[in-house]
Amino acid sequence: MGRRARGRGPMTGDTQYDVVIVGGGVTGALMARHLTGAKLRVLLLEAGPATAWTFDGYTQHLQRFYAAAGKGPESPWPPSVNAPQPDTRDVREGDGYFVQEGPDKYGSSYSRLLGGSTLHWLGVSLRMLPEDFELRSRYGVGRDWPLQAADLEPYYEAAEQAIGVAADVADQSYLGIDFRDGYDYPMRRIPPSYSDHVLAGAVDGMEVELGSQQVALNVRSYPAARNSIPRGDYVPVGAVDDRTGGQALGRDLGQRCAGNTACTPICPIQAKYNASKSLAQADKRYLQVLAQAVASKIHVDAASGAVQSIEYLRYEDPDSPRCTMHKARGRAYVLAAHAVENAKLMLVSGLGGASGQLGRNLMDHPTLYAWGLSPVPIGPYRGPQSTAGIEDMRGGPFRAEHAAFRFDVGNDGWRAPAGAPDSTVAEAVTNQDLFGAQLHDHLASTLQRQVRFSLSVEQLPSPHNSVTINPSYVDPLGLPRPVIHYRIDDYTLAGMAAASDVAREVFGRAGITDCTDSEQASWFPSVAYRGNEYRYHGMGHFGGTHIMGDRAEQSVVDADQRSWEHRNLYLIGSGSFPTMGTSNPTLTMAALTLRTAERLAAELRT
């Protein structure tokens, strides 16, 4: 095999591709779309099956969801034995794909199949705050990014176009978020729910104390990657139905959100963005997608550090570990396999690196539920699972003392914290012995008043929170399972305490009877802080395993998500985030991907 140091070598006979991408989730798909648009030949390796890629296959996932006893984020998306994945049902026993070394449980999951976790994400597409990029400089905690908000601003715009975000700029300028004059999102905001209106009527303008600040709260529509009424000549991208001759019947489905109340775990009409849409938009003349191909090792040139090939295991049967080994070669390589899988692949390849940061600084947004009964019917179980949040606690000087947080204001009753409506029915029938008209009226009254907030709390990078591997723990292909060390520190715990206080004040103001932590709650891991117990869950917001920085000694990748030590290798996604802020990471991951793709394409085209 020829040497292609720094990815600039000439094409040789055995180099079939310009770029090899590992992973068919949002970052891999956007990367493939951009690079093929620049006429670069791309091979995309996806560990899991491509069953969500066709409309018929997607429909089978939907049927699986309907019939599933548990309707968690993974329920429509079963893994292949060869690409096992974490499952939130495994957190309690700690016996799943993750080896949980504690002391706290890492509560999040992701999915390994073409489309990745965007198949079951909620679609929240918030930009990060300008201050999120400079936490160390401003507040003396965490790290600064090697990029500023202004550097990312054009890529945020591009990302909002690429994944299709619905919002009104008029709602989104707060805490320093700034938009170019004349800019607005590609689609109008998703209509806020009736319950958002009721809550806003009670709450808007109320002040709470955070640190020594008085903060005024507002119920605010959030940007969502869900199809709405387009602006200008933007055309909403509906369901993926990729077949010979191009998109077929699915194209016209899902051009508006229809309120299926199932963003997580499956939007039946694909009105919500998923990565298959970006792959469908790639130029197929330059793209080869290989599903059921698990990257198993990165081979590098010992002298230059350049990647020479990526070894992968191809399987025919998702239920059998029988596989064949192959090597993929390109001029450049992009790991877009997920924060945990990227780190795992580097570690199993012996590429832990000199900085000692690879796999470290694992973060999430540990999240509490607050739930209660509204004094008036608010009509939950309708519309997207949420359409608004309370964002005013995302930034401010209090971040010197404790974590920032945001509230997601639910439209789905007590589904998430307590498994309602089923659990509400079971409680009434089994414990209260209700039947007949009394049962009917009790349920009508109760279900229509259920309120849920998610209190999502920032977590700072810590080298002690990590993904490692251990030869004792392997999957059916013999590849390592991720070993997770995770602790929620006092900075985040104090943020949880503050978030709980604010939620109680909001409930009090709105006359909502607090039912948080009642006996109906589903099981969640808990942490203790100053005499209180906080039950938390993961948000699926993995970050920080290949952190970016401006110095090779302290980071894994540079601001272009390019490996310091292997210059034709890029590790992309939320693993590159030095800090998480409080925004759901997908939009920022997309923006970073588009920035990296632009630079990589320019380099390879010269």
Partner: protein, 157 residues
């Protein structure tokens, strides 16, 4: 009532009992299309004759003001029939089968089908809990763009 004049067949008696227990009218129950599936679900799990025992007790209930008290005492309060009747309510409201209590199983026997489960993809979507909530099954029967911004219609019977 589901029955017209004359002798009611088993399905009609089952529907009448279901209407009494769920608070939904017979036409709403029939409209789910799940009647046969739920009778089948009960027959598959329960010992032979048990569903017919329940239907027979229902047929003997007094009418008028004593009826509700009799349901509570003779059906829901009965060691054998109570858990079955509660499962019947859960079938209609949730589309799910719930494992019977351990004591009940110890007395009347177990079935491999007696586990917590969704009866079928159809039963999930037909569950009346979504109707009573003034809503729709999550992931199905979408209400349309923006419908969620309108005040809830209230529970329909």
């Amino acid at each position: 009532m589901c029955r017209s004049d004359g002798v009611a067949n088993r399905s009609q008696v089952f529907l009448d009992l279901s209407a009494l227990l769920t608070g939904f009218k017979c036409v709403a129950l029939t409209g789910t299309g799940m009647t046969d599936a739920y009778i089948g679900a009960l027959d598959d799990v329960l010992p032979a004759q048990l569903l017919d025992d329940l239907l027979a007790v229902y047929e003997r209930l007094p009418v008028g003001s004593e009826r509700d008290a009799a349901v509570a005492a003779d059906i829901l309060g009965d060691f054998k029939l109570g858990p079955v009747a509660r499962n019947l309510i859960l079938l209609w409201y949730c589309g799910t089968w719930t494992a019977l209590p351990d004591q009940w199983r110890a007395t009347y026997g177990t079935s491999p089908l007696d586990t917590d489960r969704v009866v079928s993809a159809q039963s999930y979507q037909a569950a009346l809990q979504w109707v009573v909530a003034g809503a729709h099954p999550a992931g199905a029967r979408q209400q349309g763009y923006g419908a969620w911004a309108v005040a809830p219609a209230g529970a329909g019977r």
